[in-house]
């Protein structure tokens, strides 16, 4: 079927800010879809509130709106741009819900907009629990006995009938928000109440618990003519009960015979056919481990995290093909981009094994529960490819960058076999390490299987790894043993540790005996057809397939690994743009990365893609084969920066800012010297290693002080300490892992925080703009609301910042990007920190100023000068609109996480508000972050004593907007004294009704709770904040944020029409 001639202007909805359960995979899918549509000559209009994405670039779509994803905004855009079609299934659940809302309201029909791809009717059939169940019954596909309930009583009655435990799944939520397993009535009532509230339609499915069954997924494609294929199937090592996003997953399935494989495949195709899906779809099954009984768990009628994983695991570009199907093509008309010979109507076959491990944020939220449930908690994931399972698992483990490199990385050796059996009952992210220890302690496979329900096959594979550990420890290291250890992907570091040799000795022994990595190709067809895609993975003990490439200059771009809090897709944006810029300059580009969700690991971004861990050894394997002319590390976040030294040892020149200059910015003494030379002031401080030293420095400076490790991103481990006791606590947390670098203790200065990202060519510096943070210093820059252009600082401060930036860049000999953070107190400017590399704000500032700084940085790295590139150096004139970057958090997903803002970053994503006025921009940013107020016009204020004065101002403004203000005793007194009619409400442990009852009553819009300094997890404040978050109530912990919110609400009240700004226009203007 040829493409539909009526489709010319397509509106694509992105997924908005990155939250747990909806992450970079949608930037990958959306970018692929947009490029695929443009390839077909479509005009693409893109809406996404997330400025850090690649899809929101002027060169990806024709019109780009970084606007809040609400029905109202979309309606405005549709009126303005008049698209003929809407593609809703690339933006995850958020995009799909929005598309549905517009369809249901009749707006699309009225404006002549067709929904492309899967129809609204299909989406309803797949997403509405009741309709889905009925459809499955009609075609004889089994679901677990279940009932959709809209109130608690029905839920309790049904659970009583089918028996506990039961699983609860709210309809229309993402990442399984609000779901869980209830083992008794008390748990049921609690989870159900929450789920009913979170569901967009107030429905929750209560179903028979199939926990412990095998969880198997199929990625399926169907075109408009009804042709169906499965792209990939995947098996979760963690059985049903753990969200697939938090499970270790292997592709293809390992423990299914052809009967089971085909039974579920046929079922998946039956389902996709009956639902009439056109495009991609994910079907999840539970398969009874000792029978052929299975249940359909759920169907996602859109691209998903799993489809991104399946695309990367197989080389089959699901989103790209789905976009073409949406235009009317059939699968047999779409070329397989990898082979260039075959067509999209085939099923990829793998001749390797893929392992995915989730990146869980428990290193950030050390107080949070590590337990894994049906509620997803992972912020990102890593994927690895090998030709045996053990090796793929080992590669994936070391790709995580969580201080793990083998199955001994969590030490449970102190536990006895009995203790291990108990401990294994807890399902958490450490389970494979526990299983490994249980095997070491002689617990038999059957027992481990009974407790964990992990299949014997996987247990045996873990055993093979523990046996190798033991052999390396006990036996002399022969060539044969070393070969076998490398086949299982034991890194040299681990072999060295286990054999008591040095890493260098192991490497020498390997090289002397020809034990080197070979590279194989991912080609979708198990080598049946010749493939032209240079997409590689490494294995030991095979012949290499990498072909000698043409004599162009060759550059290695190091990716940023899994998405984590503090290192998000911003860095993928930078890597991808740098890669494109190098390619334009005639370089051959090579990307190394291990994150299956991102654009950088799409096989057609760089000339060559290596899907590998980002450790020195793994990178060296590639360097040995590719012999690049240089590597860039400044775009890949801390992951890439950490590899600088190793790359230099391998003889690979670092392009751009030199390694010693990067060091100078991080090394306290060197940096202090530079500041002295350049006459730039900074907060006093010192470097320490121990708690005793830290206390000494702190007492010399006077509290409060800022404590942080050096060489980290996202302020990991950074804290404000008020006392010796807190110093001890924080130092203990930081020193959980051995620190290679000293810990910094600085005097804490409270002032305005400002930030610049700039490009320096060694002589001149180009500063696109200055960003000002709404929250005072002390809140991590990634968690602050950031405004461009800086709205409240004087010209003098701006000039000083420009001047200091120039001096710093010159002193550090920066070639490429530099990020500098400042504090302004009155007209005094202090520098907080300098990072001679890309930062989280790079995509944001590039987009809102129209100055493509990654491209410019790349050109500068190659040797061009800013002036040659058509830019006048220095601080660029400010824009005539405001852009507000708003952090977005995923606190509701992580039980037990402290939500109060501090020097350690906690946000998972961001969105943008852009408008002619500051207040409107602010309003849009809040709206984009999901703060859609007012609703009930009731709020709670409880602030620490020091904040009471400021709280009065904020409260008065809320009162003016019609808010009823509840406050705890002392706050209420202060407010009343100031003439605000605050209602006093009891503290948690007092008589009912208390603050808690109010929050749980679902009548509160907002809680403002400023925590007493330090960590007060045990105190009431923590409980109030957690309850608010888990009840879906907005909770602010900084009065600056609260003041910004009230400004935005005042604006909303006074303003009618929203202004829309096409980012692509800014981009084109910037380039001109």
């Amino acid at each position: 079927m040829p493409k539909n001639p009526n489709v010319k202007r397509v509106l694509v909805i992105g997924s908005g800010p990155i939250v747990i359960g909806q992450a970079a995979e949608f930037d990958y899918a959306g970018t692929q879809a947009c490029r695929s549509l443009k390839e077909e000559g479509m005009e693409v209009i893109l809406v996404n509130s997330n400025p850090a994405t690649i899809m929101t670039d002027g060169d990806i779509a024709d019109k780009v709106y970084i606007e809040p994803l609400t029905a109202k905004v979309l309606e405005e855009i549709i009126r303005k741009e008049k698209p003929d079609s809407l593609l809703p299934n690339m933006g995850g659940q958020a995009g799909l819900n929005l598309g549905m809302e517009l369809d249901e309201s009749g707006f699309l029909a009225k404006h002549g907009v067709t929904l492309l791809g899967t129809t609204a009717k299909t989406i309803r059939k797949a997403e509405d629990r009741l309709e889905f169940k009925e459809t499955m019954e009609k075609i004889g596909e089994p679901c677990a006995p279940s009932l959709v309930v809209e109130n608690i009583e029905d839920g309790v009655a049904f659970a009583h009938k089918i028996g506990y435990p039961v699983v609860l799944r709210p309809a229309y939520t993402l990442g399984g928000s609000g779901g869980g397993i209830a083992h008794n009535q008390i748990e049921l009532e609690e989870i159900l109440a929450n789920g009913l509230r979170l569901s967009r339609v107030g429905q929750v499915l209560v179903e028979r618990c199939i926990a412990g069954w095998k969880e198997i997924e199929y990625e399926v494609m169907r075109d408009g003519a009804g042709n169906c294929i499965t792209v990939c199937n995947m098996e979760n090592i963690d059985p049903v009960g753990v969200h697939t996003g938090d499970s270790i997953v292997v592709a293809p399935s390992q423990t299914l015979g052809d009967k089971e494989y085909q039974m579920l495949r046929s079922s998946a195709l039956n389902i996709i056919n009956e639902l009439g899906i056109t495009g991609g779809c994910n079907v999840q099954f539970a398969l009874h481990p000792t029978s052929f009984e299975y249940c359909v768990i759920e169907v996602n009628p859109r691209v998903s995290r799993s489809s991104a994983l399946a695309s990367k695991a197989t080389g089959y570009p699901i989103a790209k093909v789905a976009a073409k199907i949406a235009l009317g093509y059939t699968l047999d008309e779409i070329k397989n981009a990898i082979t260039g010979k075959t067509y999209a109507s085939f099923e990829p076959t793998l001749d390797y094994c893929v392992v995915k491990i989730p990146r869980l944020p428990f290193d950030k939220f050390i107080t949070a529960k590590r337990t894994l449930t049906t509620q997803m908690k992972a912020t990102g994931e890593v994927m690895s490819i090998g030709n045996n399972f053990e090796g793929a698992l080992m590669k994936a483990i070391r790709s995580l960058e969580q201080h793990v490199d083998c199955l001994r990385s969590y030490d449970f050796s102190a536990l006895s076999a009995e203790e291990l059996k108990e401990r294994m009952k807890i399902v958490d992210d450490q389970r494979i390490y526990l299983i490994a220890e249980a095997i070491r302690k002689g617990v038999d496979y059957d027992t481990i299987h009974e407790i964990t329900m992990v299949d014997h096959w996987f247990i045996d594979k873990i055993a093979i790894l523990t046996e190798m550990e033991a052999r390396l420890e006990r036996e002399p290291l022969t060539v044969e043993l070393l070969k076998e250890a490398k086949r299982l992907e034991f890194p040299d570091t681990v072999i060295a540790r286990l054999t008591g040799k040095t890493e260098e000795e192991i490497k020498t022994m390997r090289y002397d005996n020809g034990i080197v990595a070979a590279f194989k190709m991912v080609d979708t067809c198990a080598a049946e057809f010749a493939a032209s895609t240079p997409y590689y993975y490494s294995v030991f003990g095979s012949e290499t397939e990498v072909e000698e490439t043409h004599p162009k200059k060759k550059v290695l771009v190091l990716g940023s690994g899994p998405i984590r809090i503090g290192q998000g897709i911003e860095f993928d944006y930078c890597c991808v743009h740098a890669t494109w810029a190098f390619a334009r300059e005639g370089y051959e580009t090579i990307i190394i990365n291990n994150n299956p969700e991102t654009v950088s690991t799409d096989f057609d971004i760089a000339d060559k893609l290596y899907f590998e861990p980002l450790t020195p050894e793994d990178v060296e394997n590639i360097v040995n084969v590719e012999k690049p002319d240089g590597a860039v590390v400044q775009f890949g976040g801390q992951t890439a920066i950490k590899l600088t030294e190793s790359l230099m040892k391998m003889g690979v020149p670092i392009l751009g800012t030199k390694a010693e200059d990067v060091d100078a910015a991080e090394d306290r003494e060197l940096f202090d010297k530079i500041l002295e030379e350049t006459r730039i002031p900074r907060a006093a401080g010192g470097t320490v290693y121990t708690a005793a030293q830290a206390k000494e420095v702190a007492n010399r400076l006077g509290y409060p002080v800022l404590v942080r490790p050096s060489y980290v991103l996202g302020g990991q481990g950074m804290q404000i300490a008020l006392s010796d006791q807190e110093i001890e606590e924080f130092m203990a947390v930081i020193n959980r892992y051995e620190q290679e670098h000293p810990i910094l203790v600085d005097k804490y200065l409270q002032g305005k925080e400002l930030e610049v990202d700039a490009v320096c060519d060694g002589t001149d510096i180009l500063i696109p703009g200055i960003m000002e943070h709404i929250e005072r210093t002390g809140v991590h820059s990634g968690d602050s609301i950031s405004v461009y252009p800086a709205p409240t600082v004087s010209e003098k401060v701006k000039e000083t910042i420009a001047e200091y930036s120039r001096r710093l860049a010159a002193a550090l000999h920066v070639i490429g990007l530099i990020n500098i953070q400042f504090i302004a107190m009155d007209d005094e400017v202090y520098v907080i920190e300098v990072n001679p590399r890309s930062s989280r704000t790079v995509p944001y500032i590039s987009k809102v100023t129209g100055i493509p700084i990654v491209d410019l940085a790349t050109e500068v790295i190659i040797g061009k000068k800013i002036r040659e590139l058509g830019y006048e150096p220095g601080l660029q004139p400010a824009a005539d609109y405001y852009a507000v970057k708003m952090p977005v958090f995923s606190f509701e997903k992580i039980r037990g996480a402290e939500i109060s803002l501090g020097p350690e970053m906690k946000s998972t994503g961001e969105c943008l508000g852009i408008a002619r006025t500051f207040n409107e921009a602010l309003y849009k940013a809040f709206l984009g972050a999901g703060v859609n107020l007012p609703k009930h016009r009731q709020m709670i204020i409880t602030v620490k004593d020091a904040d009471k004065g400021e709280a009065i101002g904020v409260a008065r403004r809320f009162e003016k907007l019609g808010y009823i203000i509840y406050a705890t005793r002392s706050t209420a007194a202060a407010l009343r004294e100031a003439g605000i009619k605050a209602r006093k409400v009891n503290k948690i442990r007092q008589e009912s009704p208390t603050v808690m009852d109010l929050i749980l009553g679902h009548k509160i819009d907002l809680v403002i709770d400023t925590p007493t300094q330090g960590r007060d997890k045990s105190r009431d404040g923590f409980l109030i904040r957690r309850t608010a978050i888990e009840t879906g109530v907005n909770c602010l912990t900084s009065l600056d944020t609260a003041a910004a919110l009230v400004s935005s609400l005042e604006n909303a009240a006074s303003q009618g029409e929203m202004t829309l700004i096409d980012i692509a226009t800014i981009a084109r203007r910037g380039k001109a």
Partner: protein
């Protein structure tokens, strides 16, 4: 123990010996299915060949005897990257190691199967030797390898005597239907663990007699017909056309099988006689090739064939594409096909080769791929329904 795979072009792979201790010379082919190694091993079409599985992890779920496509494995040898140390499946009867040993099949593990596949893809299917003899002499071996042919393998794999399959009287004879609510609620509660998931939903073939000519038939061809209610009588390949016609079947099924179709001169002669009757005929794989040869068309050997479970075939009548299970090294040449005899009905989307024929003016249709699946996708199972409809039309005419 060390083992070696020597190809006729002199390429040498060193690996570990698996299975029976025996030296073999055979035609080396590769199969790209990710699951279903037992079905591959027990498919008689592999007689005279040694199979390399491109998926690197083999034996993961052991051997489930229920899944065998004939009563023994047929390949001369098995070539894998890695055999699983333990099997894991609730139905597992034995390990693949035991199975190979018991049935006298040698093999080699631990070799770079992807490198081997690339060689076969580039140079075409080749003969080779699997040996544990470390003192092998290439000069002596290579001429032997070049001289090897699969020969008249159909004679080896076909059944010795005709037999009749029991017929499904109702759907439950096929085992509870996977996914059916009946199975879920009642059977499961009774503790029944389904053994043969079946996708058959109706007994459309009840009352029809099918004669199946066993050229090396996979068990699931007869099972697919019997499961739909057909009474299936399986005849040895050397049965005369007369004997089959005299039995007055409602339809004739020509099975898959091994080797070069042109070697089967006598069978082709008999099939020509079947062709000249008006009994509905459905043929699969070798049966399809033999029917084409019987009707005057030609076949040729492909460079490296189609073996796997992911080949797209397009139904030229409807335009629909199906993912099919395949195993063939020869193919019908449609270049000089007389449209008055037959028209292409299916085509391979990847390489455009013929995947099925519809015989002009006759109740005959034949396919190159495997609608009986096992291993592989079950997407084309309704071709058996088509055959049943064809038989009913003829019977009721």
């Amino acid at each position: 123990m060390k083992a070696f795979l020597i190809l006729e072009d002199g390429t040498l792979f060193e690996g570990i010996h698996i299975g029976a201790e025996k030296e073999i010379i055979s035609e080396i082919v590769f199969n790209t299915s990710m699951a279903g190694y037992l079905e591959v091993l027990t498919d008689p079409s592999y007689a005279g060949q040694a199979v390399c599985m491109t998926y690197p992890l083999i034996g993961n779920y052991g051997i489930c005897k229920d899944d065998m496509e004939s009563d023994r494995p047929w390949p001369d040898g098995l070539i894998v990257r890695e055999l699983s140390r333990i099997p894991s499946n609730f139905r597992c009867d034995m390990t693949i190691q035991q199975f190979l040993e018991k049935n006298g099949i040698p093999g080699i593990a631990g070799i770079d199967t992807r490198a081997l596949t690339r060689i076969l893809r580039e140079k075409g299917t080749m003969n080779g030797m699997i040996t544990t003899n470390e003192k092998y002499d290439l000069e002596e071996i290579l001429p032997k390898l070049k001289a090897y042919t699969t020969g008249k393998v159909v004679d080896i794999v076909t059944c010795r005597e005709k037999y009749t399959l029991s017929v499904a009287q109702d759907l439950s004879d096929n085992g509870p239907i996977s996914g059916s609510s009946q199975f879920r609620q009642e059977a499961y509660e009774r503790g029944i663990r389904e053994k043969k998931p079946s996708m058959v939903r109706e007994l459309t073939g009840s009352g029809l007699k099918v004669a199946l000519l066993d050229l090396g038939a996979k068990a699931n061809i007869a099972r697919s017909l019997a499961a739909r209610g057909c009474e299936v009588t399986v005849y040895p390949a050397f049965t005369t056309a007369k004997e089959i016609i005299d039995a007055k079947p409602d339809g004739i099924m020509l099975s898959n099988g091994p080797g070069d179709p042109k070697e089967c001169t006598e069978v082709i002669r008999q099939i020509r006689m079947l062709y000249d009757t008006d009994i509905p005929i459905f043929a699969i794989c070798l049966g399809h090739q033999l029917m084409a040869l019987a009707a005057g068309a030609d076949t040729y050997k492909m460079k490296y064939g189609h073996r796997g479970g992911n080949h797209p075939v397009k139904d030229l009548e409807t335009g629909r594409v199906y993912i099919s299970s395949q195993n063939h090294g020869y193919v019908v040449d449609t270049k000089n096909l007389d449209p008055k005899v037959a028209q292409p009905a299916f085509v391979n989307v990847n390489d455009g080769t013929n995947e099925g024929l519809s015989y002009t003016g006759r109740n005959i249709f034949t396919v190159q791929f495997h609608p009986e699946a096992c291993p592989g996708p079950q997407d084309c199972g309704d071709l058996f329904e088509r055959f049943i409809k064809m038989m009913w039309r003829k019977k009721n005419a």
